[in-house]
Symmetry: C2
């Protein structure tokens, strides 16, 4: 069993300058699973949902090669719910409402069949829950990737600091990198954060692309310039899914291969934002993905002949 994905499976209600969604299926682990399953199967999913989570969504994920043995279903409770509103630049958003529901008491259990996974993707979630999954692994995975957000820096920093000591790759966005490090320069921020545990740091900059840091090395991947960013919800999780999916497929955790994984993640994220929720991710084909990755190659390809 190769890849474990941990994170929320939930409901979102989203408002953007271009429209408003109903209460739709979302959650970090949902996006990661849809994205990563294009590259590797099964996805060994660890999450928790309430009785209100649609069976057809679970069926669709199962059909996609997602092993739901680690997903707890609490029939008499409600799934996590988030509603938010994006501003015109689509890089900033306001949270309108958060209902923790089942997530408030979530105790993850790693099924026996998930042991010996090579790759562990810890989607954005309480740091203590992320730590619990690491502690339950009898053999340390070859690569542990963790995504987190500013909310945990404000409410659970000691737990976050603890789990950071155990992960290989941290993913945050630019403002979170600044908050976590108390440095404005992202180069300085990266140095500080890599002292906290992660040997690799990915800083997501939304429409401005992503940076990968490792020691003194740095790699930059652009975001595809899009006519429309319809809904950015889940773009970071979709990026994470493409990243870990590529790593799990190639079984190569070198810095060089992480660069490629970031391009794959960026390509997946560029699909995610084209429609509300996970919809676009459920539609795309392997050919669509290959074509999109080629667009990234063209976007940054240049020849240099020195003076």
């Amino acid at each position: 069993m190769s890849l474990i994905v941990v994170g929320s499976m939930a409901f979102d209600a989203i408002e953007t300058p271009f429209g408003k969604s109903d209460k739709i299926v979302g959650g970090a682990a949902t996006y990661i699973a849809w994205s990563a399953s294009n590259f590797t199967q099964p996805i060994n999913q660890i999450s928790v949902v309430g009785g209100d989570f649609p069976q057809e969504e679970l069926d669709a994920l199962k059909a996609r090669g997602v092993n739901l043995e680690g997903v707890q279903i609490k029939k008499d409770e409600k799934s996590f719910f988030w509603s938010g509103k994006y501003h015109m630049d689509m890089n900033t958003r306001d949270t309108i409402e958060t209902q923790l529901n089942v997530l408030g008491t979530f105790q993850p259990v790693v099924p026996e069949s998930f042991q010996n996974a090579d790759f562990l993707m810890l989607g954005n979630l309480l740091p203590a829950v992320q730590m619990s999954v690491i502690e339950q692994m009898k053999v340390r995975p070859k690569l542990i990737v963790l995504d987190t957000m500013n909310f945990w820096m404000e409410t659970a920093m000691p737990d976050l600091e603890k789990v950071l000591k155990h992960v290989d790759v941290l993913m945050v966005n630019d403002s979170e990198a600044r908050q976590l490090s108390a440095q404005f320069s992202l180069v300085k921020a990266a140095k500080e954060i890599m002292k906290m545990g992660p040997k690799y740091l990915i800083i997501k900059k939304g429409e401005h692309g992503a940076l990968l840091f490792h020691g003194d090395q740095v790699f930059f991947a652009p975001a595809l310039p899009l006519e429309e960013v319809f809904d950015p919800t889940g773009a970071g999780d979709t990026f994470a899914g493409g990243f870990i999916g590529h790593i799990a497929r190639t079984k190569d955790i070198s810095f060089e291969n992480m660069k490629t994984a970031i391009i794959v993640g960026s390509a997946m994220a560029s699909f995610c934002v084209e429609k509300f929720g996970t919809l676009r991710l459920t539609e795309i084909s392997k050919q669509d993905i290959d074509d999109r990755i080629q667009e990234f190659v063209q976007l940054v390809n240049f020849d240099i002949a020195l003076v």
Copy 2:
């Protein structure tokens, strides 16, 4: 005579979160000349200064291969002066004071020896002045590049619209592209702007890099992630200088070569921001530039093997 550079030569007083400069030499054409002269000489400079502009600065430019025959010196008047203050993100700034001085009545004259230039770089300046230079050219240059700013969109839009019809490449920053096109999406903005005249559009995004649009093609160049952005003044002009300098050196105005020119421009801009004013540009060697360009190659270089 191959390259003409038009723009201000002036004084700036700059305040950043990291420090405050005295009244120092600046101006678009000053930065462009320092930058472009690394790649091609002579630089045929068209500008205007007052009697207060330092002779040693003119001498330094001359020693650098800048032909000052087109620079008017109005002994009894004062040079253009700008003072401004940058905010923490270094992408936004407030103008504290602007004194047009000699620039208010500037009537550029293209010297006979500048005729038949292949390349014309119109640095940020009144659109009517930029137009006057184009009109004085007996033979249209092979490539006309124009830089402008939001100020002219607000105060001289009809003149700007007129000159845009005559240029090949327009350079603006992202907020100016949005203002000029009334489109938020930069992809849509580019389409609108290319209808206004320019066949090529470069959108500068500061620390987020630069985009080159041409027809349906797009190229993205990153900015180098820097520990310190000490002073961004002149970075856009320095970028323009590297861009046109590379084009003039290679005499190749293809889209492919413009990509390389943008990398060269980005490398030059990354030096500019390291110290106040033009100081860093006067220090760097060919080896420094070659090394910096190689950093850009490394920054975006990746291998893709499709799924």
